[in-house]
Every structure is written in structure tokens, then in C-alpha cells.
């Protein structure tokens, strides 16, 4: 994985840049010493590390605007960073770049129950939003597994999902507005508390743009009343195939559960050892199906899902009796990553999405790859929306094992694309999947995306080197190469 070569001129001006930024945000909020910078050297994808040139922590929108304008003027690259929990290296620093941290943007400005919305700063943790309105019976629906730590601004940048996105959508479906600063320092507001805005959908475009189009400085989210009841079913199956058929059967019956998760045998055993969730150890696969809503609905749907599981040959099936049991069913699923960390020195999380119907075929192929590469794999899977998280277990201290792991990961993602899926369902492209973009998109497709980038940031100073495998200059991308000019198909009738 190659990053663009650092700009020597920029590096030689490091002290001046630190002073210039210090004049904007206060010296205390610029970090230039090695020990402080070290803390920012990677995000949640720790396989890639780079110490940033400087870290700046602005305190308000005006400071962000002035920092970006300063950097634009001096041709300095900027990498925005929220809580640093991202899993694709989207916040990986640049050697000649300023990492712009939004940790000081930690206030909840307003919870507007009448308009069922909340206005928060981007550094507020995802879960803190729900906690702030819990007593009023509301919550913010998207719940990525890092929700204790991950920031809402980072959620916007990555379009984060979570186990409940099947029914409640991703970040993009739960946003109403943002304030953001463009690379030239211009502050714009898009959306508000209304459902729809006219004009181009900048809100939708910015969501999931991985910090490359602007720096988010305020977020307005949609909030929902908490469902009055929730129950989970824990179902065991003798094969991945049976579990896959059960997923298809539930969807075909017109049921959209709040969550529908699958774990395979290695994952089941890893989490059982880790947290004793009570999963059936004789099963090849388990499904956790959560149903929420009015009591009568939850009961009826639980019965229907149980029946479908039975026709798919479920070897065990249990409906949670109370909240404690429901939490226990989820405990194992939510512990999957740390559990993998216990059985292997390192693990690598993949994030492809596939059509649900190809599930067992893809799982079988992954276990073949596991043998070919001699690396163990545990699979956890947002089965309801086809989002697969294979965890490849490895030991980075064994020479060559990280490289082999990355190569195998690439094979898995290519497989996802080959069966009609995509490279990333919720973790983002970042640097991790950047060089695989050609598997999904043609050069023409990618150039059009890069032209969008140019419309926001013509100097390509904001988070460059991420998402796109090849950097093109905006001037080059802007040129048109049109042939033809003849009246097309002159034999067709015109009216």
C-alpha cells in the first residue's frame, strides 16, 4: 500500500505551519512533539501506521474554517479525524499532513422532541446521543459496534451501519442536516430539521465520503421513539446452508426483523470461550433474530420466525424470556471481535456485502481459502442485509503472515464482487480497499467520482490518497474528450 510521496517543501515549513495554526487555535491545541503525535498514528485499522506532521484540535466552526483556509493557502494536506475507531484507515495520517481532530466538538446543542431531531457536535459519541434522550423514551437508531467510542461525525464520514440497520437504515437514512467547512474555509449548511431539501442532495453525497469533501462541524439527526418491546430468537443449525435458507425464508415471509445475525462454528466457539453466552456448541451456524414493536406483534412474529426455522431444520430455537436473556444472546455477537482477539494474536476484519442468496456458497469458498492460505477464519455476518464480516486470524510477528492475510482478504472481497456484491458494506474504502476499487468500478466510473471530489476540493488537499487507487489532477479530469459530433443515427425518425 503506497501513499503519495510527502511534499518536502511542506515538511521543511513544519515549524512555521505549527506557529500559523497555533495563532488560530491557540498553541495548546497544536501538537508537534513525537509523543503526542504517536497517539494519532493509526485509526482502528492498526496494521497501517504513519505519524502525522502535526495535529490540530480546533474548538469551533470558525477555527476549523480558518485552519482549512490557512492550509489551503499554504498547500498543506489535511486529514480529518473523529474518535479514530474507523476500520479502513480513512483517518490514517499523512507524513506531510495535518491531522485535524474534532475531539473538542463534544456538545449536544439541542434535543427537539417536537421535531424528533437532535443537533449535536461531530465529536459526540454515537451512544451518548441515545443516552441523552433515553429518559424521554427516544434514541438514535444506527448502532455501530464501536458505538461507545465512535463519534457521530465519523459515522457521517463513513455512513456507519450497525446490527439494526436492516430495519432502521444506515447513518445516511437517519440524518437531517449538517454544517460543514469546505477546504477553502467556506462554511455551508445543508438540510435542517425538515425531511427533504431541494437542490442537489449534498447531505446524501457527503455521508460516506470518508472525510474527502469537507469537515463536518455540526450534525442534525433524526430521533425515534424507543420500541416498547424487543425479543431475540437464538436458533442453531446443522449447516450454513440451513441457516442461509432460514434467512431467505424470513425475508420471503415479509418479515423485516430489527436485526438478523449469523455466526459460524469458529465464531460460536470463540465467543463461548470468551463470554459464555449460552450458544449451542454442536451447531455449525447460529442465527440471532431480533424483533421489536408492540407486544402482540413481537409475539406473533417470534412464533412465525420459529416456524420458519423449524422448516429449515433448526437444531435448536429459543425465544428470549426477558431483557436479561435478550442481552445475553447479543453479548456473544457483540463480543465477536474481542473474542477473536483472544484466540489469535491479531485478526483482520473484512466487510464485503453479498446478495443474501449467495451466502452459503460464499461461506464455503471462504473456508476453502482458509485452507489454501493456512489462516483460520471466523465469520460473523449481518445476514439480513448481506453484510459479511469474516475475521481472519493471524500473527503479525510471524514474517509474511500479515501480507498473506491481506492477500486472502483481497480474495474474499473479489469474491464478494464476483457474486454481485460490493467491497465494503459499512467500514469504508479508506486506504484498505483503495487498490481494489478497480474490481467494482471502471476507470470511467472512478474518474466521475474524482470529479465530484474536485468540485469540493480542487487542490485535492483534503484526505488525499484514500478511496481512489490513482490520483489524477483536477485539471486533467476536467478536460472533455468527445469524438463524434455527427448527427447520431440519422435514419431514426424525429418529430
Amino acid at each position: 500500500m503506497q501513499m503519495p510521496p510527502p511534499n518536502e517543501t511542506t515538511l521543511s515549513q513544519r515549524a512555521d505551519i505549527a506557529a500559523g495554526l497555533g495563532a488560530i487555535v491557540g498553541e495548546a491545541h497544536v501538537m508537534a512533539d513525537d509523543a503526542s503525535l504517536k497517539a494519532f498514528e493509526s485509526d482502528g485499522l492498526s496494521a497501517y501506521r504513519q505519524t502525522p506532521m502535526l495535529v490540530v484540535l480546533p474548538g469551533d466552526t470558525q477555527e476549523v474554517s480558518r485552519v482549512l483556509a490557512y492550509c489551503a493557502k499554504h498547500d498543506v494536506k489535511v486529514v480529518p479525524r473523529g474518535a479514530g475507531t474507523g476500520l479502513s484507515g480513512g483517518a490514517l495520517p499523512l507524513a506531510d499532513g495535518v491531522t485535524l481532530g474534532l475531539g473538542r466538538f463534544n456538545r449536544i446543542f439541542e434535543i427537539d422532541y417536537a421535531n424528533r431531531s437532535a443537533v449535536v457536535q461531530p465529536g459526540v459519541a454515537n451512544l451518548a446521543i441515545s443516552q441523552a434522550m433515553d429518559s424521554a423514551g427516544f434514541y438514535y437508531a444506527p448502532d455501530p459496534s464501536s458505538q461507545i467510542a465512535c463519534s457521530i461525525g465519523g459515522n457521517v464520514a463513513e455512513n456507519s451501519g450497525g446490527v439494526h440497520s436492516l430495519k432502521y437504515g444506515l447513518t445516511t437514512n437517519n440524518l437531517l442536516g449538517v454544517e460543514m467547512v469546505l477546504m477553502d474555509g467556506e462554511v455551508i449548511r445543508v438540510g435542517g430539521k425538515q425531511f427533504d431539501s431541494d437542490g442537489y442532495d449534498f447531505l446524501g453525497l457527503i455521508t460516506g465520503s470518508e472525510g474527502m469533501l469537507g469537515v463536518i462541524t455540526e450534525v442534525t439527526v433524526r430521533i425515534l421513539p424507543k420500541p416498547p418491546n424487543a425479543r431475540a430468537l437464538l436458533m442453531g443449525f446443522a449447516s450454513n446452508d440451513d441457516a442461509g435458507r432460514c434467512v431467505a425464508g424470513i425475508i420471503a415471509a415479509g418479515i423485516i426483523p430489527a436485526g438478523l445475525e449469523l455466526m459460524d462454528r469458529p465464531a460460536i466457539h470463540a465467543v463461548e470461550e470468551f463470554c459464555h453466552a449460552g450458544y449451542p456448541l454442536d451447531a455449525e451456524a447460529i442465527l440471532i433474530c431480533e424483533l421489536d414493536g408492540p407486544e402482540v406483534e413481537v409475539e406473533e412474529l417470534a412464533r412465525r420466525v420459529g416456524d420458519i426455522a423449524a422448516t429449515c431444520g433448526a437444531t435448536s430455537s429459543r425465544v428470549s424470556e426477558d431483557e436479561a436473556e435478550r442481552q445475553r444472546f447479543w453479548l456473544g455477537r457483540k463480543s465477536a471481535f474481542p473474542a477473536a482477539g483472544r484466540i489469535a494474536p491479531d485478526y483482520y476484519v473484512m466487510d464485503g456485502t453479498i446478495p443474501r442468496g449467495r451466502l452459503s456458497e460464499v461461506l464455503n469458498r471462504i473456508s476453502e481459502l482458509s485452507e489454501e492460505y493456512d489462516l483460520k477464519v471466523a465469520n460473523v455476518f449481518h445476514a439480513g442485509d448481506g453484510n459479511l464480516h469474516p475475521l481472519i486470524l493471524f500473527d503479525a510477528n510471524i514474517p509474511g503472515e500479515l501480507e498473506r492475510t491481506e492477500k486472502m482478504g483481497g480474495e474474499i472481497l473479489k469474491l464478494c464482487v464476483a457474486v454481485g456484491g460490493v467491497l465494503t458494506g459499512e467500514h469504508g474504502v479508506g486506504v484498505e480497499k483503495r487498490d481494489l476499487m478497480g474490481e467494482m468500478f471502471s476507470e470511467t466510473d472512478l474518474k466521475q467520482q474524482q470529479r465530484v471530489k474536485c468540485a469540493f476540493d480542487a487542490g485535492q488537499l483534503l484526505n488525499p490518497g484514500k478511496v481512489f487507487p490513482t490520483l489524477h489532477r483536477c485539471a486533467e479530469l476536467g478536460r472533455m474528450h468527445v469524438h463524434g459530433g455527427e448527427m447520431p443515427f440519422p435514419d431514426l425518425p424525429r418529430f
Binding site: 427533504d196 437542490g199 415479509g254 408492540p294 406483534e297 447520431p488 443515427f489 431514426l492
Partner: protein, 405 residues
């Protein structure tokens, strides 16, 4: 009358745009043609007829996914989905009657204009359901974005950008959509006799409750009387409607709870099956205003502001309004005149938040006033740069949204 180009294949579509670009011949994009009276009038040299890109190419009910030519009639899509007990959850609106068009609404047109119906408050907008597309840009390049699966963050979300871009960025020819199971049962609880302010408050309470309301609308008495639905037109007073969908026992329980909840406010009634469906179709398509020629504004604003905005405008204008999206969508009809009272409407919307779109007015009025709200200078500049990144020569529907865009 402009001439028409009708490409039959993607290659021919690329050629058509190449020709347009090489001599800067502006094109007006048309699928079925039912929405030609929407937006600012386009001064095009030629019409680009996209109707050949029609037909469902892939429909996998168990994958909740459908792929079709962009010009596939909406009716064809809905019939295919209905066969499998599925639906487009955003409830695409059909303004053909409202705009006096006999043409058929197409899938691409609904997406290009991001036209969502009453279920928008629960299920999201048209933009939330487009998974992927193939299109020819104003650079005469065939490109794609997105995919066919629900969860996808690979690259920028150009699906959102293209939805609601009114054909000004690219000519979509194939689209993939997320589809959802249709509800087993639908019922609508009616509350009679609330004034606008109390109705908006009641709808807000309903949405804040655990009863999972999928649509909330309010018709003042004069507009309720225009409905074709018996219980509504016989009410003799204002009607507030809350829709409940899902499995049978749940719908029955929630309707009962909602009626109990609002019993202190006024008489209750319930619409079942046919009447419920008919009622929400009227709300969706702005049917209360289909029979007249007044100018019509579609105003999306913070829901709790709905009644306040209408009250504020009522002090200086003679206007009629009804509310969808629990107050978050105001349909406002007033005399077209020369400018559809654009300045007053824009000023009021600026004070309450949100956006006003001049959905219906004679062409000369739509050419004279801002059909879409004027944008802040930095946003307008960004809009222009985005337009240029897709369509540097300005040959695709240019001027449909803003001058030059």
C-alpha cells in the same frame, strides 16, 4: 416545437450526447413525459426521448431488489411488486392528474425528482431506495455507481446525488432499487374537528408514540369535503388521519390504542382497506388541488412549524393548505398571478426553516420566479461546480433547477 432524438441502445444514447456536446445543442430529457411541467422550463434545442430504456431486467423478491430500465412505467413496476406482496416503500407520487398530463409516470422520473409520498416519514424518501444506476453523463460517458445490495459504502454515494437532480447531471438508463414487503394490513385512524395547530401537535404526539404510525396528514374542512372517500367528505369538519400498517393483530391493537389516546380531542373513525388506500393516494398526489388551476407550493419544513407557517402566510395571502408528513410537508395553493407570491412564500419559509418548491404554475411564472429556493452563495457555487463536473457543456436539462443548472 423541439425535435426528438430517440436512442434505442446505450451506444446510441452516448452518441446522442456526443452530438449535443460537440455543437452545444441543449437537450431536454424525457422518459414518459408526465413531469414536463415540473421545474423551470428548459430551453432545449432537442428532446432526448429515453423511453426505449424500459422493462424490468431483474427482480429477486427474496433479495428485496429490483433492476429496471429507467423509463419503465411506474405502473408496471408496482404491478410486478404487488404480485409478490412487495412495494416501493417510499410511496412514489404521481402528479399526472395534478399537472394535467395524460402521459405515464416512469421510475426514472420519480427518482430524478425525488418524489416521495406519505410513508416518507417512516420508510425514507425515493433517494433512500436507489441502490445503483447506470447513466450517461454530459461528458457522453456511460458510467455506473452504487450496486445491487442494500449495504454499500464503496465510493461516493452518487445515487443520492442523482436522485433529485432533475436530469441535470446525467441520463440514467438503468436503476436498481431496494424494495420491501407490503404490509399485511393497513388501517387509518381519523380524528375529526381539530384546527391546524392542534392537528399538527396531535400528529407529532402520534409519531412520538410507540404505535409506529406510517403516515400522518391533516385536511382542513374545505379540503376534506373535496375527498372522494365517504367518511372524509361526510365529516363536515377537518380530518386528521394516522395510518397504521403491519400484521393483523398488531394493526388492530395499535389502532385501538391510538383511538384511546386521542379520544379526548374529538370523534374518531377508522378507514379500512379500500378507503384507506384511496385516502392516502389522494394525499400523496395532492388530489385536493387537482381540479383547479391555482399555483401550488410544496413546502418541506420542520414538522412542528407546519401550522405556524400556514397561519403566518394566511395573514397576507388568500391561500388554502393541507399537511402531510405530520406537518412536515405543506401543500399550499394560491392564485398564480405573475409570481405565485414567491417573495412572501420564500420569506415565510426562511423564517420557519425548510424549502419551498413551486410545484405547479404556468410556464411563464415558473420561468420568472425561483421554482427551487434560492441557495446561499457558497452552496450555489458548489452546485454549479458539481453540474460542471458531470455536464461541462450544459447540455442536459440545463436551467431546469436554477439558471444554468
Amino acid at each position: 416545437m423541439a425535435q426528438t432524438l430517440k436512442p434505442g441502445t446505450v451506444d446510441e444514447l452516448v452518441q446522442a450526447v456526443e452530438w449535443a456536446v460537440s455543437g452545444t445543442h441543449p437537450l431536454e430529457l424525457v422518459g414518459g413525459g408526465s413531469k414536463r411541467a415540473l421545474g423551470r422550463p428548459v430551453q432545449a434545442e432537442m428532446t432526448l426521448d429515453l423511453s426505449a430504456f424500459s422493462g424490468i431486467t431483474e427482480y429477486q423478491p427474496e433479495e428485496l431488489q429490483l433492476t429496471a430500465g429507467a423509463a419503465t412505467p411506474l405502473a408496471e413496476i408496482e404491478a410486478a411488486l404487488s404480485d409478490k406482496n412487495q412495494m416501493l416503500a417510499f410511496e412514489p407520487a404521481d402528479y399526472s392528474a395534478l399537472l394535467g398530463s395524460k402521459a405515464e409516470a416512469t421510475l426514472g422520473g420519480v427518482l430524478a425528482c425525488n418524489l416521495s409520498g406519505p410513508r416518507r416519514i417512516k420508510a425514507g424518501a425515493a433517494r433512500d431506495h436507489l441502490l445503483g444506476f447506470h447513466a450517461v453523463s454530459g461528458r457522453a460517458e456511460d458510467f455506473k455507481a452504487g450496486g445491487k445490495v442494500v449495504k454499500n459504502v464503496t465510493g461516493y454515494d452518487l445515487c443520492k446525488l442523482l436522485t433529485g437532480s432533475w436530469g441535470t447531471l446525467a441520463a440514467m438508463h438503468e436503476v436498481s432499487l431496494k424494495v420491501l414487503p407490503a404490509p399485511e394490513l393497513t388501517r387509518t385512524v381519523l380524528i375529526m374537528g381539530l384546527d391546524d395547530a392542534r392537528a399538527v401537535a396531535a400528529m407529532g404526539e402520534a409519531l412520538a408514540s410507540a404505535h409506529d404510525v406510517s403516515a400522518a396528514a391533516h385536511l382542513p374542512a374545505a379540503l376534506a369535503a373535496r375527498s372522494a372517500v365517504p367518511y372524509v367528505n361526510e365529516a363536515g369538519t377537518a380530518v386528521t388521519a394516522l395510518r397504521v400498517e403491519g400484521i393483523g393483530p398488531s394493526v388492530e391493537a395499535r389502532c385501538r390504542d391510538l383511538r384511546n389516546m386521542f379520544a379526548p380531542l374529538g370523534d374518531g373513525e377508522e378507514l379500512h382497506r379500500m378507503y384507506s388506500r384511496q385516502f392516502w393516494q389522494e394525499i400523496r398526489d395532492a388530489a385536493p388541488f387537482a381540479g383547479d388551476a391555482r399555483a401550488l407550493w410544496r413546502i418541506s419544513l420542520p414538522p412542528a412549524e407546519g401550522a405556524k407557517l400556514v397561519a403566518a402566510l394566511g395573514q397576507s395571502l388568500i391561500a388554502e393548505a393541507y399537511y402531510d408528513w405530520a406537518g412536515g410537508l405543506v401543500w399550499l395553493a394560491l392564485a398564480a398571478g405573475e409570481d405565485a407570491s414567491a417573495d412572501s412564500v420564500h420569506a415565510a419559509v426562511a423564517a420557519h426553516g425548510g424549502h419551498a418548491t413551486l410545484l405547479r404554475a404556468p410556464a411563464d411564472v415558473r420561468a420568472a420566479v425561483a421554482v427551487f429556493m434560492p441557495q446561499a452563495p457558497a452552496v450555489a457555487a458548489l452546485t454549479k461546480r458539481l453540474k460542471e463536473s458531470f455536464d461541462p457543456a450544459g447540455v442536459l436539462n440545463s436551467g431546469r433547477m436554477y439558471p444554468g443548472v
